[in-house]
Amino acid sequence: MMPRAIVVPPLPRGRCRMEKREESASGFRKETVNKILQLHFKDDKTRVSSDALLLMAEMLNVFVREASARGARQAQAEDLDRVDIEHVEKVLPQLLLDF
């Protein structure tokens, strides 16, 4: 199986709008990402830099968009207009390999 390219949205031109975009559009919030990561750290002293948190939020946005887009593609390939669990199950192995 060839690794599939991940479809990412075009980047906004000009100044970085990542912080503003979090408030208006949907996507993971910095504080949420921080708390989730902290949950799984082995060392209490481990912290995440502000930039790294923003990047991780983007990672998770891409992850969710990929999972849903690939599931949708699978459902459409089967000529259906609704994405069900089995479509996600079919695309899950490749998704995890790509991440």
Binding site: P3, S26, G27, I36, R47, A52, L55
Partner: protein, 142 residues
């Protein structure tokens, strides 16, 4: 009541709250994709993607911690996140571009702060300014 049982329940509640937050965000993102592609997502599908995402965060968190520790650091930085994105070329390019965007934005903010402080505090001698620059450089090296 045993204090240990209490702690366990606190942890469970905490992780449940986080799962709920993830579920909400996943729902929003799936809604965007649904509108984009003109297709619907069943509730179980959104729940499944939410669960998968939450579990993947554990893998991410542990990897990031190991990367930072490998670099003898306790603070995870952008380089660690880029390492995380290495498996797919397009993903790595995307994250690297975002990282550069952020770095540029930080530079712009620093420039703005410098301008503000120099106008607020009045003019300094050029010697003092050179000293201040050198000091901030050293603190970055530590």
């Amino acid at each position: 009541m045993e204090p240990e049982g209490e702690q366990e329940r606190e942890r469970l509640l905490h992780s449940q709250r986080l799962k709920a937050a993830v579920h909400y965000t996943v729902g929003c993102l799936c809604q965007e994709v649904a509108e984009d592609k003109g297709i619907q997502f069943s509730k179980q599908t959104i729940a499944a993607i939410s669960e998968i995402t939450f579990r993947q965060c554990e893998v991410f968190a542990k990897d990031l911690e190991m990367f930072a520790r490998h670099g003898k650091r306790t603070v995870i930085n952008s380089e660690d996140v880029k390492l995380l994105a290495r498996r797919s070329n397009s993903l790595l390019r995307y994250i690297t571009q975002k990282s550069e965007e952020l770095a540029l934005n930080n530079l712009e903010q620093k420039e703005r702060k410098k301008k503000k402080s120099s106008t607020a505090k009045g003019k300094r001698t050029s010697d003092e300014q050179v000293e201040v620059m050198a000091e901030s450089e050293d603190s970055n090296m530590a």
